[in-house]
């Protein structure tokens, strides 16, 4: 395994004629949690989607585990070991929790399904209780757990999480971030996280990136960024005091 798991260099991406990403370069090392924060519309989700090949990077290169995946079809990127928990969760509402999870294991047919189930039920015991319930009838927090669990079912090397805190109560957000942390500490899972909730995301992360209008403007360790005056002013308003206290 190389020192860098995911490396993006000089990525430009467009939606039609509108440029969403401008020369983005970043990297994620194995065993690391990396957070990308930024305002609404900064291009965070686009960046994650570009890693998955949709939209395609117009210029630049994406390396995963040393292989160029810039032009690989989306479904094969998933099979290469990148699991994506997309924005808005996108679970299958009419299918049960169990069926949703089974869909997650498609990308890795060789994996032991029973083990995978045990692993995600350990991480989110709530899902075990809800196994035969339809996805659409779960609460928002449970749906987010399901989305993450579904991504984990393929036993990926890299987990991409898009706004796991979206629309959730603060207590549930803490629960989910704790689970991500446990996943990283106990299993060494590499996580690339995109968040608007900068405080939580940066506290959790080893390293962070800040994106403004499709450009990476700042980078540093999680605590460096949390202490950075610019970041505090732009993204942390309410949370600044907490950091100062901590």
């Amino acid at each position: 395994m190389s020192e860098v798991m995911l490396q993006l260099s000089g990525i430009d991406a467009f939606y039609g004629r509108i440029q969403a990403l401008r020369g983005v370069s970043l990297d994620v090392a194995p065993g690391e949690i990396v957070s990308l924060i930024g305002a609404n519309g900064a291009g965070k989700t686009t960046l994650l989607m570009t890693v998955c090949g949709e939209p395609r990077a117009a210029t630049g290169q994406i390396l995963f585990d040393g292989n160029d995946i810039t032009q690989t079809p989306t479904h094969e990127i998933a099979r290469a070991g990148i699991a994506h928990s997309p924005e808005g969760r996108r679970i299958f509402p009419r299918m049960t929790v169990q069926e949703n999870l089974l869909m997650g294991s498609v990308a890795n047919p060789g994996a032991n399904q029973a083990d995978a189930f045990e692993r995600v039920f350990n991480l989110f015991p709530r899902l075990k209780e809800r196994r035969s319930q339809r996805g659409g009838t779960l609460s928002g927090g449970e749906q987010q757990m399901l989305a993450i669990a579904r991504a984990l079912m393929s036993n990926p090397k890299l987990l991409l999480l898009d706004e796991p805190s979206l629309g959730l109560a603060p207590m549930i957000v803490s629960q989910i971030f704790q689970a991500i942390k446990r996943l990283n500490e106990q299993e060494g899972m590499t996580v690339f996280l995109v968040e608007q909730n900068a405080y939580h995301a940066l506290r959790l992360a080893h390293r962070g990136f800040v994106m403004v209008n499709g450009v990476i403007t700042l980078t540093g360790t999680g605590s460096e960024l949390l202490g950075n005056a610019e970041v505090q002013e732009a993204y942390l308003e309410g949370a600044v005091k907490k950091v100062a206290d901590a």
Partner: protein, 480 residues
């Protein structure tokens, strides 16, 4: 239910408005009538029919308002009277007779429901329909396998039941063909969520494959069956490729065009398909080489000779019924099985969310193509049976209305529900045959039925989805 003070002037006003709307609608449809005369068409008027129709609607509206206010006895008597009137009085038009009877029956039914429902409400304060649906679901969950077995047993015994005559068995065969078509289209529309308006193309391919292979190469029904299925499946893939990127309305338009294309090719490729003349003399299926004709060709034996029973022409129809039944059961078993396999779940996941599917490593191309191919395959099978039943096929049998009917079977049955589709096929194919006495108004009654289903069961007759896998521990009482 407390009886509200009766406000006759409001009641009459509402009924009058309803009658006025009815009059405006019925004037062009019922009031005017084109008839052929020497020198062309002439328009005649039918004021009496129009007046009776409007009067019926006026009275019916009053009855419904009275029912709404909680009164039961008067509407009940009125409804019974209307039914009796419709049965006895020689109204000038068959449609009016039926409307009178049906309207009366509806009023009677509603007052009975109100009667019974009023008693039920004491114990059950929720509205009537949701618990009913939930109960039906529970009932099906518990007795589903038994119910299925009972239905199959009934279907097997059907030709031997006393009321089953030649015409009815033949009709049942047609219903089974549509059940098969419905199940096939259900893969594409119900499971994979791809709206296909050109499904008739595969039906046509199946029918023409059998017809052409048997008339040109003397191939038997059983040899043609897999070929027809495979050709249809191949065509399904062929259609699938260009529409991979399309969804919803756009997909519907392209598939609609595809259906028409196939029909137009069948009309115009005269050398090959005999064009609009169609293909006649399509042989009937045989039972292990035993034909069902009175005098089999030299060197072959027929069914009645082999078993040494007197010849009966109905045998052939019964046999075809069993062929259709067998193929329908095969279709059902196949679909029930494949739903539980990864590919079946992938179809449903694709219907739910294509982007999520892609991010999970599913290849939408393969999933869509397999749905199109398998759906088309069953269409092809049904087509071959259809050709065998008719003995004669022409492009006229494969117009857009067939696609629409098959789609209606799927939608009304409840997308994704096997039993629902079967019930809908019986309703939509069987009833129009019973409605035949209505002649021109057959399609009107058909439309009314569809509207009725959509009003009362907007998601289809049976619209709940059975999970593809169950947890055993949980079924045994550990539930919440």
């Amino acid at each position: 239910m407390a009886s509200q003070p009766q406000d006759w002037s409001a009641t009459l006003k509402e009924s009058a408005i309803t009658a006025a709307i009815a009059a405006a609608l019925m004037f062009p449809m019922i009031g005017l009538y084109t008839s052929t005369r020497a020198g062309g068409l002439a328009i005649e008027t039918r004021w009496i029919e129009l007046a009776i129709g409007v009067l019926l609607i006026f009275l019916g509206r009053i009855a419904l308002i009275r029912l709404r206010d909680g009164e039961r006895l008067v509407p009940f008597v009125g409804g019974v009277f209307a039914v009796g009137l419709g049965l006895q009085l020689p109204l000038p038009n068959g449609l009016l007779t039926v409307c009178c009877i049906a309207g009366g029956a509806v009023v009677v039914l509603r007052s009975v429901v109100l009667w019974v429902g009023g008693k039920l409400k004491a114990t059950n304060d929720a509205r009537n329909s949701p618990p009913l649906a939930a109960r039906a679901q529970l009932f099906l969950k518990q007795y589903g396998p038994w119910l299925g077995a009972a239905v199959i047993a009934f279907a097997i015994a059907f030709p031997w039941l006393p009321f089953a005559d030649r015409r009815l068995i033949d009709l049942a065969t047609l219903v089974l063909i549509y059940v098969m078509l419905g199940w096939g289209l259900n893969i594409v529309v119900g499971l994979a969520g791809l709206l296909d308006l050109g499904y008739v193309a595969f039906y046509a391919i199946g029918a023409y494959s059998f017809a052409l292979l048997s008339s040109n190469y003397d191939m038997s029904f059983w040899a043609c069956l897999p070929v027809a299925a495979m050709l249809a499946a191949f065509l399904g893939i062929l259609l699938g490729f260009p529409v991979l990127r399309l969804r919803g309305d756009y997909l519907a338009i392209v598939t609609l065009g595809f259906g028409e294309m196939i029909r137009i090719i069948l009309i115009n490729w005269v050398d090959f398909t005999k064009g609009p003349d169609g293909i006649s003399g399509i042989p009937k299926p045989t039972l292990f080489g035993l034909s069902f004709s009175r005098r089999p060709p030299e060197g072959t034996e027929s069914f009645h000779q082999f078993f040494d029973i007197p010849y009966a022409s109905v045998d052939r129809i019964i046999f075809l019924f069993y062929v259709a039944l067998g193929l329908a059961l095969l279709t059902n078993a196949f679909i029930l099985r494949i739903r539980k396999l990864p590919i079946g779940r992938a179809w449903e996941a694709l219907r739910e969310d294509e982007i999520a599917c892609r991010s999970l490593g599913l290849n939408p191309t393969n999933i869509k193509l397999s749905a199109f191919a398998l759906g088309a395959m069953f269409g092809g099978l049904a087509g071959a049976v259809f050709a065998a039943r008719q003995s004669f096929i022409s492009p006229e049998s494969f117009t857009f209305i067939e696609s629409a009917i098959i789609l209606a079977v799927v939608v009304l049955g409840g997308m994704g529900s096997q039993i629902g589709v079967a019930i809908a096929a019986i309703l939509l194919i069987g009833l129009p045959e019973w409605f035949r006495e209505l002649q021109d108004y057959r399609m009107l009654a058909f439309g009314a039925l569809m509207v009725a289903i959509m009003v009362w069961r907007p998601k289809g007759i049976l619209s709940f989805r059975e999970p593809t896998l169950r947890l055993h521990e949980e079924d045994r009482g550990a539930k919440q």
